[in-house]
């Protein structure tokens, strides 16, 4: 038999999550203190799943941002087919010949990431820019997908 949410008594469940949240906060604190000396906190790079991205809906346009540090225009390839967006990128290792490597957290990196945009877009008018290691795509929606203001009919 399936358990219904209500059977738990929601208050108790709530408290459990709150306690878990507190525990997590404590652990984060402990880690951030530890990091001050040793640099062992979660590092901002998990390239196995591709770059960190962000999609914003500005009404008339969709804006996609992706973190691609160390890549130049020639290292990136963006394609749009219908509302399927694909971003490919590649970066080489710096050539540091004759150097001893003390720490290696960055690395050569190659990714291909595909997204389904949430609405129909006008691919011909899409624009891309690259600044400070952030790829920014501005993709206009088709007119039908843009928001419409609905006026409230004044009935007398």
């Amino acid at each position: 038999m399936l358990t219904r949410w209500n059977d738990f008594g929601f208050g108790d469940l709530d408290r459990t999550f709150l306690a878990l949240g507190e525990l997590r906060d404590e652990m984060e604190k402990a880690f951030s203190d530890f990091d001050r000396g040793f640099g062992l906190r979660r590092i901002h790079s998990d390239w196995s799943v591709g770059p960190r991205t962000e999609l914003t809906d500005n009404g008339e346009t969709l804006v996609v941002k992706a973190e691609v540090p160390g890549m130049a225009e020639k290292d990136l390839d963006v394609s749009l087919e219908g509302n399927a967006l694909t971003i490919r990128g590649k970066r080489e290792n710096e050539k540091m010949e004759g150097y001893i490597v003390h720490r290696k957290e960055r690395g050569a990196w190659e990714f291909s990431r595909a997204f389904t945009l949430p609405c129909k877009v006008d691919g011909d008018k899409a624009k891309a820019s690259l600044k400070d290691g952030i790829l920014e795509l501005t993709i206009p929606k088709v007119p039908e997908a843009q928001p419409r203001r609905i006026t409230i009919g004044g009935s007398k």
Partner: protein, 119 residues
């Protein structure tokens, strides 16, 4: 729910909102290289403009920091070995990658010692 419980709940929520307003500190990925002449730090800091960079050396401790916006900031510190000359440092920022290069102090560079064998 009692009034006290509701109040406590409110406090918890407000605390969460305050926390969200704070700056998020991100630990950037860093590579460190060294040869006889220099010590090189390379950090990924996508989204940081030149004006947002903040590289400091204090008491042989290097801090690499960069502000993306008012809510997001990269920051990481490293102890520098006494072999580097903290006054001889150069930094570049390209495509969101920060490179900080220290020259080694003269006394720390390896010297070749000529050995004359006695015959």
């Amino acid at each position: 729910m009692t009034t006290a419980a509701i109040e406590k709940n409110k406090d918890t929520q407000n605390a969460a909102i305050e926390q969200a307003k704070q700056i998020q500190r991100i630990t950037p990925a860093v590579d460190i290289y060294e040869n006889d002449n220099e010590l090189v730090f390379v950090a990924d800091m996508p989204g940081v403009p030149k004006e947002g960079l903040d590289v400091q050396v204090e008491k042989q401790e290097l801090t690499l920091a960069g502000e993306v916006n008012e809510h997001n900031r990269y920051e990481r510190s490293f102890k520098l070995p006494p072999t580097v000359d903290v006054d001889k440092v150069s930094a570049t920022l390209k495509n969101g990658v920060l490179n900080v290069t220290f020259k080694k102090a003269e006394h720390a560079k390896p010297k070749k010692i000529q050995v004359n064998l006695l015959k």
